[in-house]
């Protein structure tokens, strides 16, 4: 059924030369006579022969395949990172395989057996926020992994992680969003983050707080809440906030961790009869493909995740050990309105 894969010996004997000569032709060496080259090439074509990268890998100790570890492919955020990384890898002649986050985050003896056994040439790990005790565990696993292959991190990378990494300047992003909302006249600006802790390693909270301070706005504790980063969590988070406050204290703007959360916020606001953007402005983050089709179309931060993924691959292959940030862009759609002052 499947045709027995031809080997270099088959080609050699078919062409009447030694395997060394076939190898020379395969690798495009010059010291082969034209006549021989032609004979060999004909045999290769005849058998539809492709040299085994496995066998080549035995010698070169390189597999030309990379890995990417991420928590959840179905989250479009990660899908975009993957897509960018994978395209770049392909351009550089590498294949890319996906591994579950659990292959890193485990209490088992060797946290990365699959990756190490496969002798990948490198791996990109997308790090999510982790509680402090869990954090130590993961950091140890990452360091262990690094002993076997180059590792580049993406995402929520605390400053004390000694790894090359690509991420956004989250604090600066937050500051920009606050400033943008302030410029529209907002003063009651809520923040729905993704981390339960008081301070996340991304410093998004801090960026939010700094933004408020910069605008000389008071900080209101009940405007800062956290969720799991899903649409449901966003709906719950904003819903609880609204239900817990008298309408006159309702925020006029919400900064959402990401577009999923923003979608949930829209749902929560709609259920409570709020006019958007009239009574509530929302800013998301990630700029998902559906953002323009929400009601109202969602203003969001395009964080260039594909570029992030691509850049991570470049660092991985070049071996540069540095932390980089990528630019972002505020995409204005219809979800933020100027505040009408009370008469």
């Amino acid at each position: 059924m499947q045709n027995e894969n031809a080997t270099i010996y088959d080609i050699a004997s078919d062409a009447g030369v030694s395997i060394a000569t076939v190898s020379r032709v395969l690798r495009g060496e010059t010291n082969v006579s034209p006549a021989t080259r032609e004979k060999v090439q004909a045999a290769i074509d005849r058998h539809n022969y492709r040299p085994s990268s496995i066998a080549r890998g035995m010698i070169s100790k390189t597999t030309h395949s990379l890995g990417i570890v991420l928590p959840k492919l179905l989250n479009p955020h990660y899908a975009m990172i993957f897509s960018g990384a994978y395209e770049e890898a392909r351009k550089m002649g590498y294949s890319m395989s996906l591994f579950p986050w659990s292959s890193i985050d485990t209490r088992a003896y060797d946290p990365a057996t699959m990756l190490v056994e496969r002798r990948l040439d490198g791996v990109i790990v997308c790090v999510e926020y982790l509680s402090p005790d869990h954090d130590g565990q993961v950091l140890a696993a990452l360091r262990e992994l690094k002993r076997f292959m180059p590792v580049v991190l993406i995402g929520c990378v605390p400053p004390w992680y000694d790894f090359p990494a690509v991420s956004n300047n989250d604090a600066a992003m937050m500051r920009q969003i606050v400033a943008y909302l302030v410029s529209l006249g907002h003063e009651k600006i809520a923040f729905i983050g993704g981390v339960q802790e008081d301070k996340d390693p991304l410093r998004r909270d801090e960026g939010y707080m700094e933004g408020l301070r910069g605008a000389r706005l008071p900080y209101t504790g009940s405007y800062r809440v956290y969720g799991k980063g899903t649409a449901e969590a966003g709906e719950t988070a904003l819903g609880n906030m609204l239900d817990g406050l008298k309408p006159e204290y309702w925020p006029t703007a919400v900064i959402a961790l990401n577009d999923l959360v923003a979608m949930g916020c829209q749902a929560a606001a709609r259920k409570r009869g709020l006019d958007m953007p009239g009574q509530l402005s929302i800013v998301g983050c990630d700029d998902l493909f559906c953002a323009p089709y929400l009601c109202p179309p969602l203003t969001s931060i395009n964080t260039h995740q594909q570029r992030t993924g691509a850049r991570a691959v470049q660092l991985l292959i070049s071996g540069e050990d540095k932390k980089e940030t990528v630019e972002w862009e505020l995409i204005e759609r219809g979800s933020c309105a100027r505040v009408i002052r009370d008469q």
Copy 2:
């Protein structure tokens, strides 16, 4: 910097045994004395040794890695298929790497060099609709690929493709949607397909037509249009249809190729001031995560793409050569309304 990967020789000499004995321990053979086993295991632990799956693959002629070929990861439809396939592969101990559609669809000599050189244990190919002449080219490429490794197809698989495959019964799906809309009183039902041709291999057109016939509704040519399957294409397609018809002939319901197209339809209808679902009902397909958050929340067909991907992996590994269909489910949300008859 990276620690030199230990080999079986290192372990053997460290434990004071032969490599054969180490190999026995690694593979859990029973004919090793407990004392020796312990010594060897200790050496393995000491070196953090992981046997090279590359070297193993040389012997077993199996890589325990699968490939998936798809046109565009960023399309959430394919992301879901990938996710399902990859999870299943992982469960069975296989890794999964992604390859671009172009590695199959090319005029170059060998259409699948990357796949073949990597000696994958099998590959899943997600097939999109192809124009007839292009179709022949791709079919040839697929057949060629099949000579080297097992291939399972997903998606738009014409009946004359001699490959194991997993797909939906698209025609039946369409019939169900038409019946559903008819049950709500709709008579002017439009269809926005993804294929320019008169008949696509999925027979979605045909399902649509049969549905109309089944309900004894007349077929109106201008209600059947085609697009590229994107949101923009959907917006253009419905927009052109509406602009080309007097309002009294406007359809009261639209069946969209997928949720992306449906999103575009919503935008087109909104721009023209149509009330949804009052004046226009829309049914999508794929049940994307954002469907519940659109305005109105989109009624859609959940085609269980993750299950499709998983099933394809099972066929691939088991080697069963059959074509299967997976079930689907109509998810009612708010985008379809009962028609109010003219008085």
